[in-house]
């Protein structure tokens, strides 16, 4: 049990980078980017193939970061310069990456057994906690720079930021590239962690990322960027813990997890909005009752 908990926290931290990437596109840029499913595998493919051919693992992960950024740049270009709908540009890149990833790996899966590994001789938990915290702090600081502010404003009010001189095409492309760079890094780390890369490992990744963002924000709030990035990381860990528990339930299969994820997201999206509507209705009802009572007092008998 404890071993499986530790495993859940470890993979939660590994997937946290992917969740942070999804947070950047989904929340900050307000751009639902489906490239993630492809770029996650791209990262894993680059990370594993380079390691197999003898590159130091850290360099392989760095190259995965760059590969993800390139994939994201392509999606951004399709959307901004090609004027293709956001969802569609993501889907196009996702499908293109499927073939590209196969090209990179040369076969459907690559094993890293017996090769130099990033997590050899170190505690995965400790390394990942430090690494994720560093990434989080860099992101927090980045979003306070002039470029970071204009990137956030692009997602918040693109008309406004254009009138202050930011090229929203560039900020959008940059944001999507940064997002996919993080996603690909996460993919490379996962490949090292599980010691293999598989061409289908990215399927459904966007939904898992979304689930992490939504769970985290629902529990820990998202008032500031600092709070939100922390929430996303913790959300990713909680998702993996739920996953670990689900695996222990007898009548559930590992393959049911995608369905469970979908249900979690539906709940997390529907409950807050219907609660808001319900609350507003109650307030409106109370306020009208108050106003009517006041009127009655002023004009007893309804003023006839």
């Amino acid at each position: 049990m404890i071993a499986s908990m530790q495993g859940a926290v470890e993979s939660g931290l590994l997937y946290a980078l992917m969740a942070l990437g999804v947070y950047i596109t989904f929340r900050i840029l307000d751009f639902p980017d489906l490239t993630v499913d492809g770029s996650f595998t791209t990262g894993a493919a680059i990370g594993s193939v380079m390691t197999v051919s003898g590159t130091p693992p850290w360099l392989a992960v760095l190259c995965a970061f760059v590969g993800g950024a390139l994939a994201g740049t392509c999606t951004g270009l399709l959307h901004t310069k090609g004027k293709i709908n956001g969802l569609l540009s993501g889907i196009i890149m996702m499908i293109a990456l499927y073939s590209i990833n196969l090209r990179i790996m040369g076969k459907p899966n690559v094993s890293l057994r017996g090769k130099e590994n990033l997590f050899d001789n170190v505690s995965t938990l400790v390394v990942m906690i430090i690494f994720v915290i560093i990434v989080k702090i860099i992101l927090d600081l980045f979003f306070r720079t002039d470029i970071g502010l204009s990137l956030r404003a692009t997602g918040d009010n693109s008309r406004m930021i254009r009138s202050f001189g930011a090229n929203t095409d560039i900020t959008t492309i940059f944001g999507i590239a940064l997002s996919n760079a993080l996603v690909a890094t996460s993919g490379a780390l996962i490949a090292h962690y599980q010691k293999y890369a598989d061409n289908s490992m990215g399927i459904g990744m966007i939904v898992i990322g979304l689930a992490s963002v939504i769970i985290g924000e629902a529990i820990f709030g998202s008032k500031t960027i600092f709070r939100a990035t922390l929430a996303v990381i913790l959300g990713s860990i909680i998702y993996r813990i739920i996953y670990a528990f689900a695996l222990r339930v007898e009548w559930l299969d590992a393959s049911d997890m995608k369905l469970i994820t979908a249900v979690i997201i539906i709940f997390a999206l529907v409950v807050p909005s219907s609660r808001r509507v319900w609350k507003q209705k109650n307030v409106a009802r109370r306020r009208t009752a108050e106003m009517l009572a006041k009127l009655d007092k002023a004009q007893p008998g309804g003023g006839r």
Binding site: R144, I147, S150, D156, S163, A166, N167
Partner: protein, 264 residues
Amino acid sequence: MLEIAKVSKLFNPGTVDEKTALVGANLTMKPGDFITVIGSNGAGKSTLMNIISGVMKPDAGEVRIDGQNISNLTEYQRSQWIGRVFQDPMAGTAPRMSIEENLAIAYARGKKRGFSFGVTRAKRAIFKKELQRLGIGLENRLSAKVGLLSGGERQALSLLMATFTRPQILLLDEHTAALDPARAELITTLTETLVKEMNLTTLMVTHNMEQAIRLGNRLIMMDKGRIILDVPEERKKDLTVVQLLGEFEVISGKKLADDRIVLG
């Protein structure tokens, strides 16, 4: 300063819905000019604003700033010279960002945006001082999210953000039209003060006739994509709303039709 030379713009050209927004419009603004623009529905006032700011490109003609043709520059490239306040109070600010972050974005107008911090202690002091001009207490709420402000407060902030870097041209696009009378009056007063203090060259579209006469040193009237009347300062001083409506009828041969018009 700003020159608009024979600018024309068609919407839906070549279709049954073809509409002439501007035909050969000419306008020259001198430094320090504060021009108010009035006109009937579809006269081309907003199109004029959009063509100056670069949201739209003219089909023919040129827009020049200080003699330089800027017709082919994009909106974000022109923003180094042009500040703008929109009609919609929500349009000029980013709601999920704080007041100081919004001001930092405005502060970077015309500068290269890099990896230095948007809000620094030095800038915060500048923002505080500038916000005091508004006199609505925003200087004490620097870290508040802009989405929490009222429409009037947001428009006041938009106005400050558009002006405090002293752009060469200020465009005001019916920026008080969406506010209730009291708030509209506040924004109008602020506009007057800020424009005077910073000596900004300003072009203001308005539906309020009285405001159009009271503010600024020049008044132009538009109809069917042309500027049909240009009232200089000397004549504008003694102008009344009734005279203005009369002039419109004489020149255009119809009554001024505007469903939102305010006579003042």
